[in-house]
């Protein structure tokens, strides 16, 4: 009996020792950024703000939140990156003070029509990242892109890809298409672009989820898709610029409406925002915008705020944070690979805050 107990203890002890040794190797480092910008009224604010929503702008919002903490140390803002759909649902149920969403609010998404306002915040290119050894420059036209993602084109050395890339030798490899397995505003914008730019070649419609063909691979969130592209030779997928840059993926240049092949850069995204038509409720569509320097797959993202807050203190907090995000906060956008709003749109967005009834 004793020996049995002893032997079991030895095994458990050995397992624990193994864990400790493995864990000792890593150390974690934390960094806190210090911002010197300050709004005079902000330092006096105190309270909590809860928000959730799109994963697409998460890197930017987290950066703004940490900068905001040094300006308004008594305010705690939390943004949970759970996806646009869940964010809208929670906002509609009153669980959030504001929500982040890449896609517009549809009737059964949660928030009641007329109870919220759109505030554009940033935009970023959705890159078409690929992993093909030996090919470090790739150009794709919308038709070819649509055919690749609907798996009508199965191999890298297909005629259509070769036609877009004169002089580049493409290997005879299978294309592994990576897409989102979860519902996503990024998928929504990417498929909306394909519907607008390649209507004959793209038949799968658009939405947070589409019926991808059987031979594709699904990854969870932008990071999951980026991981698939990074791991598999011959993979191609759509990933936001932030996550794609983090894994140092290679991007394809896409042919825009004016016929130019443009790489996914912040300048291309900024040109797309400028070229887009802004509606009265401040929603705008930079996908497939006209302009020579435009990167055509630029995704807008919005914050949804209520047009009436029951608690005036909460309204002050929301106004303070969103105003910071639209003014000083815009400066950090390019550090995390997001394009700031042009000043005309920024002014209109700030004006939205004044519409909050108190």
């Amino acid at each position: 009996m004793n020996r049995n107990l002893l032997s079991r203890l030895v095994i458990v002890g050995a397992a624990l020792a193994g864990l400790v040794l493995a864990g000792c190797g890593g150390n974690n480092g934390g960094s806190s950024s210090s911002a010197t910008s300050g709004g005079s009224g902000l330092a006096s604010l105190s309270g909590d703000l809860k928000a959730s929503g799109a994963s697409f702008p998460d890197a930017y919002y987290q950066e703004v939140i940490s900068q905001f903490k040094s300006t308004a140390p008594n305010v705690t803002v939390t943004y949970n990156s759970v996806g646009s759909g869940t964010g809208k649902k929670e906002f509609g149920q009153g669980l959030d003070d504001f929500a982040g969403s890449d896609s517009l609010v549809k009737p059964d998404d949660g928030p009641a029509p007329g109870s919220f306002l759109y505030v554009p915040t940033v935009a970023a290119p959705i890159t078409v990242s690929y992993n093909l050894s030996g090919v470090d420059k790739l150009q794709l036209s919308p038709d070819t892109l649509a055919k690749i993602f609907s798996t009508s084109i199965k191999k890298w050395n297909d005629q259509a890809i070769a036609a877009d890339n004169p002089g580049v030798s493409l290997p005879d490899k299978n294309i592994t298409v990576a897409h989102r397995s979860d519902g996503s505003g990024t998928t929504n914008n990417f498929t909306k672009y394909l519907v607008a730019a390649a209507p004959t070649a793209w038949k799968l419609g658009s939405g947070d989820t589409v019926a991808w063909p059987a031979s594709t691979q699904g990854g969870d969130k932008n990071t999951g898709v980026a991981q698939i592209v990074e791991q598999a030779d011959g993979a191609i997928g759509y990933v936001d610029l932030s996550d794609a840059s983090e894994l140092k993926l290679t991007f394809a240049s896409i042919k825009n409406k004016d016929g130019q092949f443009v790489a996914p850069t912040l300048e291309g995204a900024a040109a797309a925002i400028e070229g887009a038509e802004v509606k009265d409720d401040l929603t705008y569509n930079p996908l497939n915008a006209a302009g020579a320097a435009v990167y055509p797959i630029t995704s807008p993202t919005y914050i949804l705020i209520k047009n009436k807050y029951d608690d005036p203190k909460k309204a002050e907090l929301v106004k303070g944070f969103v105003r910071y995000l639209l003014t000083d906060g815009q400066a950090v956008a390019k550090d995390v690979n997001f394009a700031a709003l042009p000043s005309s749109l920024q002014q209109k967005a700030l004006a939205q805050l004044d519409k909050i009834a108190t």
Binding site: N4, R8, I11, S84, K203, Q217, A232, G234
Partner: protein, 332 residues
Amino acid sequence: MKTETSQTQTPGSALTRRSGGARIERLFRLWTLATGLLVLAILALILFSTTREAWPVLRDMGFRFVTDATWDPNPSSGGAVFGALSFIYGTAVSSAIALLIGVPIAIGIGLFLTELAPRWLRGPAVTTVDLLASVPSVVFGLWGVLVVAPALVPVYRWFNHVFGGIPGLGSLFGSPVGTGRNFMTAGIILAIMVTPIITSISREVLSTVPQANRDAAFALGATRWEMIRGAVFPHSFAGLVGATMLGLGRAMGETIAVALVIGGATSITPNIFAGGNSMAAIIVQQFGESTGTFTAALIGLGVVLFAMTVVVNLAARVVVRRAEARMQGAAT
């Protein structure tokens, strides 16, 4: 069997002296009845509430919900189509691979521990296998997607190269996906996860075989394997099937580990090296962004999974009963 004794009676056993007699007996019966009914009530409540949530979609799609292979919540034209067949197929295939790999290993470990292992090895071996059971499933999923899947791609390519050309069997070993996330990898990870469960129960069951049966087989001149086949298996068959069903239940319901390594593709194909999706995985992937009818359809998938588990368990009971009759009948 009423043993009513008052406190002043003869010094009976300590068991009956301080138990309080009939009152405690009644309370005990009430408690066991209540807990038994509670379990049934929870089961019924789950079934009822999920079916009610899913009813709009189940009613509209009817039988097509389980026979249609298309899952399209946002079609470019027409209404949304929710066909669960691809996911039922994915669950079935990954669980089948898991059992095909896991059951022989688990029963093998069980037999080793009860028949062949030296006494001093039994304790540590049992502890190690139980440790495997306590690893969280998300850890298995992470390990699978970061280590196992990329490492197995060359193995799959080799299988495809060697067996892909054979007519019939070759369609099982088709072209592997570039990432290694497919039915086979999911099956392997699931096999590792269900082996501890099946092992621990099998070991218990195998150890209850009376030594007399074993000795009788040896006395007749049987080799060790013949003894196992003739004396151990017939006696413990029901228990082994029960252990396998428990493992199958875990394999069919396993969510995170499968969602990470199965590939996230909606497809029905005999190629086990192709990506696919399972019911539990698609629910966890798409639930967060779903609304209205879409959510109802996902809950409907849960109902189908539940029903599948029940059907499989009932089928197992039938198998056990038939086999018992045959084996016990032959033994006597």
